[in-house]
Symmetry: C2
Subunit: 110 residues, 2 copies
């Protein structure tokens, strides 16, 4: 117990939920917003902007990277992080599909 029963769901359901889960933390929303706003993207800047310790920010960055929402490239001693459009496209297309389904639905029971 305590573990999500991933095997019982489709690959698509697991992929979408992993993307949503990665976005499901205010610090990670803040990181995404920061990266969209500044086209530059040095890790140290993110740490300065967020109200969390460096180790914690690094952990959040790792999760966003694992989910395919950001990518990072080493530049000397620092790391440049920025938005990975692939992850965002996937999740956006899900919400586009949801919106379409909502407008096309016939009976609303609640």
């Amino acid at each position: 117990m305590g573990t999500t029963k991933s095997e019982q769901f489709t690959a698509r359901q697991n992929e979408l939920s992993a993307l949503a889960k990665a976005i499901g933390h205010p610090a990670r929303i803040a990181i995404i917003e920061y990266l969209l706003q500044t086209d530059a993207c040095v890790c140290g800047d993110i740490v300065e902007v967020l109200p969390l310790a460096q180790a914690t920010v690094s952990q959040h960055l790792k999760e966003l990277k694992n989910a395919g929402l950001i990518k990072g490239s080493i530049e000397g001693t620092s790391v440049c992080y920025c938005i990975d459009e692939n992850g965002f496209e996937k999740i956006k297309s899900f919400f586009d599909h949801v919106a379409l389904s909502i407008t096309n639905r016939k009976n609303e029971c609640c």
Copy 2:
């Protein structure tokens, strides 16, 4: 420790992350997909379709409801659940904004 430092982030960041977090589980994606597909929506049907115990499904439904992604209305002994468009509109507009920012960005550093 162990608790998210919500006070340190904006209301909008907390709201968006709460919505994403609620979607961040394959069972809850499955519930959403089911509700979009069938316009009818009796709780018992959802329990039958999902590979989880009734108590667990009930818990997932509660989380989606708390997040404002679904709503339920009592019909006799059963409950009719369906999509709450308000929650989905909020999160969709975030991803629309992200998509716009991505296409408009000038320099991509990674």
